[in-house]
Subunit: 114 residues, 2 copies
């Protein structure tokens, strides 16, 4: 999908290109906000966002593909939950890119706390 | 800029909407990759990316606005470095959205390590 710099994070198997794209959308971040508090059904997600169930389903598909959300259908209700893989991939990306300065600064802070 | 869910992270003063947008672009992530290793001049950034100095300058402006990069002009050379504010904002966003499950899991891991 992305020849010009995109890559997979080995730790979580999440495409970092798609992950940042997924989180660049305010509606998808609002869904993540709601699910961070507790699991929701698709219709419970749609109501406060004031968008159609179809639109929510499309956002959920992108969030599922990037390891930020998982959904499970029991009977007629699809329940959505936060998934950790996407967050782990984000953390790994940050960790890999923190400047040497920042890392040294962290270590200094730890030494001062001891 | 974003009425439907975007917000400013108080800790770092970085707009999280613009931050994810900035990092959704593979060329901008490649610039961050290079600057994570060491500071570069604008022309040193442009060469391996095979894009014009103007294009690099536009990407750098977005990276500067989102606290990921800072640049400093000394004489005729503009030097680019990693800035920490954007990374701090990302970390804060992750921390605020980690599921309760994940937090409990982390704490369990710490207990087992003790």
């Amino acid at each position: 999908m992305s020849a010009s710099g995109g890559r997979r994070e080995p730790g979580a198997g999440v495409d970092i290109d798609r992950l940042f794209h997924a989180l660049g959308d305010p509606t998808r971040r609002a869904i993540v906000d709601m699910l961070s508090a507790r699991p929701h059904s698709v219709s419970k997600l749609a109501a406060p966002l004031n968008i159609t169930l179809t639109a929510v389903a499309q956002h959920l598909q992108i969030l599922e593909e990037t390891g930020l959300v998982r959904t499970e259908k029991v009977g007629r209700v699809r329940t959505c939950r936060i998934e950790n893989a996407g967050f782990v991939a984000l953390e790994q990306w940050i960790e890999a890119h923190k400047s040497m300065w920042e890392k040294r600064f962290d270590r200094l802070g730890e030494l001062l706390e001891e």
